[in-house]
């Protein structure tokens, strides 16, 4: 289960360790103060016997009050210094030469991932190499938005950072364990904010190299799917979607060049199966009401052909 208590990347580890320390201190405060409160509540209940006279009146005590002012101040100093160290360690970590650069662009309601040095554009599923102490290969994410505010959050890999228009941000991760990590947009961004999921695939260096090679190829052009491609390129699909090596050069929707290399569609709203793909093209509102892709009003035959074409885009 994805949890901030199960960290797999340096920033998430640092935060986890810091949180344990803070939990220890706040937990101790809780035990002491709640214990005092419980003691008072039990010990000083009014008893039937001595109802007639009031207890001694005490108006305050400078020494006692000074003590419980100074102790919190000391705790604050300790917590502050510890926190400041971690802030600088994570936020101002210099970017090593071996780092992978990825630009993340938030859209209503999906993620665009660009690898500027590798010439790759993909969506919703981020592939990064595993990073080990021997061969550190952290990923530096540049975060931008095409429309409204979003927030990039994969709990096991690090804290969240917002994607704000006109305000590029940066964060980094260095996952030490291969696998798939689920995250989600964490800043309300409109009607389908709930279905703006993202996946981070942490690959071995070999897997990652293979993936890069695959992604750099132009879109497949199988003769068997020519009819679907014809429909795709003559309908409005091309206004929003890109399939490299074809006439489709739209930029408002996800790049579909290697659609079949992704395991979900619609930013994680559905698994990437032929049935789901067909339902999505017929009417995106069925699984993600409010998605900005319109229903294209294709007839059954055209829809079948387009799905068949998309199924070839490995």
């Amino acid at each position: 289960m994805p949890s901030i208590l199960d960290p797999h990347s340096t920033p998430a580890h640092e935060i986890y360790r810091l949180s344990l320390f803070v939990l220890l201190i706040t937990g101790s405060i809780f035990v002491v103060v709640a214990g005092l409160l419980a003691y008072v509540v039990i010990r000083f209940r009014a008893k039937e016997a001595d109802k007639d006279h009031e207890p001694p009146q005490i108006y305050g005590s400078t020494q006692v009050e000074l003590a419980w002012t100074v102790i919190p101040v000391l705790i604050v100093v300790v917590l502050f210094l510890t926190t400041a160290r971690i802030i600088f360690a994570i936020q101002d970590a210099p970017e090593p030469k071996t780092a992978l650069d990825v630009t993340v662009i938030g859209h209503q309601f999906w993620w665009e991932f660009r690898y500027p040095k590798l010439g790759i554009v993909t969506a919703n599923e981020l592939h990064v190499p595993v990073s080990t102490p021997e061969a550190p290969e952290p990923t530096y994410l540049k975060l931008m938005s095409a429309d409204v505010d979003h927030s990039f959050w994969v709990p096991q890999l690090g804290g969240k950072t917002d994607l704000i228009p006109n305000h590029p941000n940066q964060m980094w991760i260095d996952p030490e364990k291969t696998g798939m990590y689920v995250g989600q947009c964490a800043q309300f961004c409109g009607v389908e904010h709930a279905k703006m999921l993202l996946r981070v695939y942490v690959d071995t260096p070999e897997q990652f190299a293979d993936w890069v090679k695959q992604q750099q190829l132009p879109g497949a052009q199988e003769a068997a799917a020519a009819a679907g491609r014809q429909v795709f390129e003559t309908e409005a699909c091309v206004n929003c979607h890109t399939i490299s090596g074809t006439a489709a050069k739209g930029v408002f929707g996800p790049d579909l060049t290697h659609l079949m290399s992704r395991s979900t569609i619609a930013a994680g709203a559905a698994d990437n199966t032929p049935q789901n793909l067909r339902a999505w093209i017929e009417n995106p509102n069925t699984c993600k009401p409010g998605a900005l892709m319109p229903a294209m009003q294709l007839n059954d035959q055209q829809t079948d052909e387009v799905v068949a074409y998309l199924e070839t885009l490995h």
């Binding site: 008072v40 005490i58 101040v73 917590l79």
Partner: protein, 562 residues
Amino acid sequence: MADQTLPIPGALDEPRSRGAGFLEWLHSWVVTVDHKKLGILYVVYAVFFLLVAGAEAMAIRIQLAVPNNHFLSAELYNEFFTMHGTTMVFLVGMTIIFGIGNYLIPLMIGARDMAFPRLNAFSFWMSAFGGLLLYFSFIGGFGLYGMGSAPDVTWWAYAPLTAKAFSPGHNTDYWALSLIVMGFGTLGAAINTLATAFSMRCRGMTLFRMPLFVWLMVVTSGLTLITITPLTAAQVMLVIDRYLGAHFFDAQAGGAPIVWMHFFWIFGHPEVYVLILPAFGIVSEVVPVFSRKAIFGYPAMVAASVGIAFVSTTVWAHHMFTVGMTSVGNTFFVLSTMMVGVPTSIKIFNWIATMWGGKIRFATPMLFCTAFVFQFLLAGLTGIMLAIAPWDWQLHNSYFVIAHFHYTLAGSFVFAIFAAFYYWYPKVTGRMMCEKLGKWHFWLFFIGFHITFDTMHFLGILGMPRSIYTYGADRGWSALNMIISAGGFIQAIAVLIFAWNLIDSYFNGQKAGNDPWDAWTLEWSTPSPPPAYNFAEEPVVRSRRPLWDIKHPQDPDWKYER
């Protein structure tokens, strides 16, 4: 100073009704400038919207109880959680504190009314109109043709989601305009509170003899003047952006969404102190009376309140640790936020010290106040966790944050408000609230609260973000969400018991007399309910507990107070 002339016999009697019945009764409430009637109007209005926003919360919890639910559409869910937050903060929180303040401040300081009675009426009706405008959105705009134009951009309404391009209908307009209108009402109430506390006190009541509730209302009102202003300014800029083509926040034309965040939170963070400070005041009145002891460290309590207000104006950007501030900027707001912990812990210790060595009677008001101290302690500790910026990068906008601020606003603020109801209801109506129903209300609400909000912390740790209308069954959040919803319904039952108790006790409650709790502040020296003029003769006080001095002539406070 209050009117010092002695009354002419009979001159202060209520004018006799001419017997026109319902219309005259209604007229008397609409045109009233009496602080007590206006206070009751505020409170009734707030309780009504508490039920409305509570119903919205229940709809939200039904939707989230199971994964992939279709009880609410995404659009309606977004409207409901936006309206829940906006209503609870502005229509319930702000109105109820000024309602209670309105009723009690003149009584507590020995005055016959607020300083500006007509401004008082104006403030209430502005707030009321703003609230009605906000709720008219459900049928206004295009509502007659469909589902309404209720605000759906969250109660923090981050730009540029509120720009015309992304919020094309009138949803955002209703939100911005109604908050501007309510803002004027709130400013009027704050000015009136300050003027009353500073210039209407009876003879002998120096500033340092004012009851702590009055002190806290003074601090809250000062803070209100500081915080409502940037909110109103930001709303005006937003409306100009939307209708006059300005680009303050419009990112497409080079505007800065970050500026909206700063404006909003420089209002929004002090705002939660605006709500919680009067709650501190209520607890500081109830705890001493039911512990049978003077408040411990009155000067420190006043200083801590003023200190919280000052520090609270320097912490706003802890809502923005994830927006990409510099490391130095983040560090500053970590420190300023943690500093709030110092005066608040002084308060908690002083309440416990007040109870220490007392003879505590656990009537319903005291039960709510004890739970308040417990929950406020936990809220403060999770607040420290959220102030740790790196940890906040994980917890921000997750259900952990929802849990934290419901601990402060429901677990602390609402608990204190309930205590205030049980404590002062006899003064307002002349009848006691039913103690048995009160205990049912307390225990159900307490248990339901903890089932719901304790569980929410874990949901945040498991990575569930706020503001999502549904989630997949594979995320591991289903069981916890079901528990949270169940707790929500227990709380709803408790609130309905409370609402019934309010109505039933008005007709069938036991007669209260002037001073049912054996209390010490001036409001308990007049009849219940107090006559229109409050006090036939201006009281004279010599200490912070004038009624203690009368009840214990051998051992009066003024001999010992520091």
